[in-house]
Amino acid sequence: MTDRTIMRRRDFWTSIFLIVVSAFFLYRTSLIPFFKADAAGVQGAWFNSAALVPFGIFSALLLLAFVLLAIAVKDGGMVGALSARAMGFTRSEAERLACVALILCAYIFALVPRTDFIACSALLITALIWGFHSGNRTAMRLSALMILLPSAYALIVHFPRDQWTKPHDDDIIVLIAFLVLTALMFLLSRRLGIMGRVVRITPVIAVLTPLLLVIAMAFGFRQNVPNRQGLIFSKIEYHYYVTLKPFWSGN
C-alpha cells in the first residue's frame, strides 16, 4: 500500500470533516446581520457587514473541501477508508501518540492553572524524557499514568476557577507523583536494563529547568509566571522580597 493511497483515504475523511465544519460556520455567519448591519453608530450595508468576509472564507473552504473530496475519491481514497489499518494507523503508533497528547493536555489543562509550576513541570519533563526516550512501552504507560492521576485529582477536587490560584493539597499530590515517578524510573530502568546517562540526568534537568526558568522570568525578565501561590514558587517569592532584597539593599 503506497503512502499516496493512505493519504487519500485520510483526505477523504478530512474533506468530509471540513464540509461539515464550513457548513456549520456558514450557518453561524448567517446569524450576523448582513443587509442591515448597523452597529456603533455606523449605518450598515451589505458591503460593510461583519459577515461579508467570513461568508467568503467559509464558502471558499466549502468549495475547496469538495475539491479535496473529489481528488480523494478519484484517487481511490474511498476504498478501505473505514479501516484504521488501511488508513495507515498502527496500534503502537496510535498508543504512543495518544500518550504524548494526553500528557500535554493534562499538563496544560489541569496542572499548570492549578498547581505549582516548578513541581508540575518537573513531573512533565520526567514523564516525557523517561516515557519516550527508550521506546519502552511500560515506561511510556507508567509516565502517562503518573501525570494523569494528579491531573484528575486537581480537576475533580479543585474544578471552580476561583480555587485555581489558591494554595491547596494538589501541589503536594503533584510533588509526590514526581518523586514516585523518579523512583520508578530508577528502579525499572535498572530492571529493564535501560539505565543510561539520560536516565541519570533526568531528575537534574526536571528540577533545574523550571526552577531557573521561573526565577529568570519572575525576577530577571519581570514577566508573569503561572500560579504565583504555588507551593514552591510562593516560598521563593517570599524569600526574594523578605530575605534577599532587603539584604542586598543593606536594610
Binding site: 493519504m7 485520510r10 483526505d11 478530512t14 471540513l18 460556520f25 453561524r28 450576523i32 446581520p33 448591519a37 452597529a39 456603533a40 455606523v42 450598515g44 458591503f47 460593510n48 457587514s49 461583519a50 461579508l52 468576509v53 467570513p54 472564507i57 467559509f58 473552504l61 475547496l64 475539491v67 479535496l68 481528488i71 503508533e93 504512543r96 501518540l97 504524548v100 497528547a101 500535554l104 493536555c105 499538563y107 496544560i108 499548570v112 492553572p113 509550576f117 513541570s121 512533565l124 519533563i125 516525557l128 524524557i129 519516550f132 526516550h133 521506546g135 539520560v198 534537568i205 529547568t209 526558568l213 521561573v214 522570568m217 525578565f221 519581570r222 514577566q223 508573569n224 509566571v225 503561572p226
Partner: protein, 506 residues
C-alpha cells in the same frame, strides 16, 4: 542624492549607538548563540526560536533590546540549521534541507570542517547582502507605499496567503489553500474591526479580543514539533570528525560571484509575502545547478551547491523584513513571529513606520550577522557537541519554555488553552500533510484583509470595481487570479502539452 547620504548617515549613527552600548553585546551573543542552538537541534526551528523569545521579552523590555534578541536568534537559527545538515544529513530547519544535499557528502569525504567554514562565510555574506537590499528597497517601497491604499493592501494580503499556500504545500496545493483559509477564519474570531460586531466567540469573553498571535504561533510551530519528536525514538547522534573550519581567503574570493548571485535570489524570494527561507534555499540551489559549470557535481559534494543554498536562506532574512516593515506583511514564518513581537510592543509596521526604527533594524542585522560569523568560525565545536543531545531530552524542556512564554505574554491560562488547541489541530494537519505556515500567515493577515477589503468597499460605496480600476490593485488582482489559474488542472495540462510540443518539434 541628499536623501541617500542622509540615510547612510542615519544608518552609521544607529550602528554607532548600538556598538557603543555594552548591553547590545550581551543580548547579541546570547541570542545568536541560542538561535544557533535552536537551528542546530533537529526538531527546533528559527520560527520557534523567535516565538519563544517573543514570549520572554514581550512588552516588558525596551523595543530595541527585544529586537536585538529576536533578530539575533533569527539570524543564528537560520545559519544553525546547517550543522546537522552537513554533519548528520538531518536538516536542522526546513531552510537547510538543500544544504544537506552537498554538505553531508562533503563530510563523508572528510571535508566537514571545510564545509562548515564555507557555509559560515556564505551565510554571513548572504545576510549582509539581504541587509543591504533591505536598506535600499525598504525606502523605495516606502515611497511607493504612499500609493498603496486599502484595495492594494487587501489584495496583497490575499496574495501572501495564496502564495504561501501554493509554495509550502508538500502534497496538494489545495491543502495549502485550505490551511490559509483556516488561518483567515481564525482571524475572524472576536470583534470585527469596523462595526465591532461579535463573531464566533460562543459566549467566551476571552475571544472578544480575537486569537492572540503569540499563543497561536507557539501552538502552531512548537506543539507539532514536540509531539512529532517524541513520537519517534531517536538515539544520540554519532558526530564525525571535522578538521579545520576557518576557510581560506582565496577560496572565499573565488566563490564570491556565486554567493552574491545566491544572495540576490534569496533576498528576492524572501521578499515574497509568506514564502521564506526554505523556498529561497531550494530555488537558489536549482538556479545554481542550472548555471554552474559543474552542475553535474551538485548533490555529490559540490561546494558551489552548498553555498548556493546557504547564502540564499540567510539572505532571505533581509528580504523577508522588506514587506514586513513596509506593509506589515511578513515575508516568512519567523518574520511573522517578529511581527507578533512588534505588535505586542505597539509598533504597527506599514507606511507610517518610524524611519529610525528601520535603520535600527538594519544596524541590528549587520551586528547579528557579524556575531554569527565570529561564533560560527571560532566556537563551532561547541555547537557540534550540542548535536549529541537527543530530541527526547530537549523537547520536554522546550515544552516548558513554550508554556511559560505563552503564559507571560497574555498573563492568563486562556492563552495556554488556546496554544494547546491550536497545537493539536496543527499536529493533525501536519499528519495530513497540510502546511502550517499558510495557516499562521492567514491568522496574522486575516485582520488586515478583513479590514482593508471592507474599507475599500465602504469607500467605493459597494462598487467592486475599486479592486481593478486602480493600477496597483489591477496588477495585484491579476497576480492573484494567475496564481489560482496556474494551479487549475486543465490549465496545467494545457501548459505541459504546450511545453511538450515545444520540446519535440514536428
Amino acid at each position: 542624492m541628499e536623501f541617500v547620504t542622509t540615510q547612510i548617515a542615519g544608518f552609521w549613527i544607529a550602528l554607532a549607538e548600538l556598538a557603543s552600548d555594552p548591553v547590545t553585546y550581551v543580548y547579541l551573543i546570547a541570542s545568536v548563540f541560542l538561535g544557533i542552538v535552536f537551528g542546530a537541534l533537529p526538531g527546533l526551528t528559527a520560527t520557534l526560536a523567535v516565538t519563544i523569545l517573543t514570549g520572554f521579552f514581550s512588552n516588558k523590555f525596551p523595543l530595541e533590546q527585544s529586537l536585538i534578541a529576536l533578530i539575533g536568534a533569527y539570524v543564528g537559527a537560520i545559519y544553525g540549521g546547517s550543522y546537522p545538515s552537513i554533519l548528520l544529513n538531518i536538516p536542522g530547519t526546513a531552510a537547510s534541507a538543500a544544504t544537506a544535499m552537498d554538505g553531508y557528502p562533503l563530510t563523508r569525504s572528510g571535508r566537514g570542517g571545510e564545509a562548515l567554514g564555507i557555509t559560515t562565510t556564505a551565510s554571513f555574506i548572504g545576510t549582509l547582502f539581504g541587509t543591504v537590499c533591505l536598506l535600499i528597497f525598504v525606502w523605495v517601497l516606502l515611497l511607493m507605499s504612499k500609493n498603496i491604499a486599502s484595495p492594494e493592501k487587501a489584495l496583497l494580503a490575499l496574495f501572501g496567503i495564496l502564495l504561501s499556500g501554493t509554495l509550502m504545500s508538500q502534497d496538494l496545493v489545495v491543502k495549502g489553500w485550505i490551511a490559509g483559509l483556516i488561518g483567515l477564519a481564525m482571524a475572524m474570531v472576536g470583534l470585527d474591526p469596523i462595526l465591532s460586531e461579535d463573531r464566533y466567540t460562543f459566549g467566551w469573553s476571552y475571544l472578544l479580543s480575537g486569537f492572540q498571535i503569540v499563543p497561536v504561533l507557539m501552538g502552531a510551530f512548537a506543539i507539532p514539533q514536540i509531539m512529532d519528536g517524541l513520537r519517534a525514538t531517536t538515539m544520540a547522534a554519532q558526530i564525525p570528525q571535522v578538521g579545520r573550519i576557518v576557510p581560506k581567503f582565496g577560496e572565499v574570493l573565488r566563490r564570491l560571484p556565486g554567493i552574491t548571485r545566491s544572495g540576490a535570489i534569496g533576498t528576492g524570494v524572501g521578499a515574497l509575502p509568506g514564502v521564506g527561507e526554505d523556498v529561497a534555499g531550494w530555488v537558489s540551489y536549482g538556479v545554481g545547478k542550472a548555471s554552474s559549470k559543474e552542475g553535474s557535481k551538485f548533490g555529490r559534494g559540490s561546494v558551489d551547491g552548498l553555498i548556493s543554498a546557504e547564502a540564499a536562506n540567510n539572505a532571505a532574512i533581509g528580504g523577508a523584513l522588506i514587506p514586513l516593515l513596509v506593509l506589515g506583511i511578513p515575508g516568512s514564518p519567523p518574520a511573522a513571529a517578529l511581527l507578533g513581537a512588534l505588535k505586542i510592543n505597539n509598533v504597527i509596521p506599514g507606511p507610517t513606520i518610524d524611519p529610525a526604527l528601520i535603520l535600527r533594524v538594519v544596524a541590528i542585522l549587520v551586528m547579528a550577522s557579524l556575531t554569527m560569523f565570529i561564533m560560527g568560525l571560532f566556537t563551532a565545536r561547541i555547537f557540534i557537541m550540542i548535536l549529541r543531545i537527543p530530541q527526547t531530552v530537549f523537547l520536554p524542556v522546550v515544552m516548558v519554555l513554550t508554556t511559560i512564554g505563552s503564559f507571560s505574554v497574555g498573563g492568563g491560562v486562556n492563552d495556554l488553552f488556546l496554544m494547546i488547541c491550536v497545537g493539536l489541530v496543527a499536529y493533525a494537519m501536519n499528519v495530513m500533510k497540510y502546511p502550517i505556515a499558510p495557516l499562521v500567515i492567514g491568522a496574522i493577515l486575516g485582520g488586515l484583509f478583513d479590514e482593508t477589503f471592507r474599507r475599500s468597499l465602504l469607500i467605493s460605496d459597494g462598487d467592486p470595481s475599486v479592486f481593478f480600476s486602480r493600477p496597483g490593485a489591477a496588477i495585484l488582482l491579476t497576480l492573484n487570479v494567475l496564481l489560482i489559474m496556474s494551479q487549475l488542472p486543465f490549465v496545467r495540462r494545457r501548459f505541459s502539452r504546450l511545453r511538450r510540443n515545444k520540446e519535440t518539434p514536428a
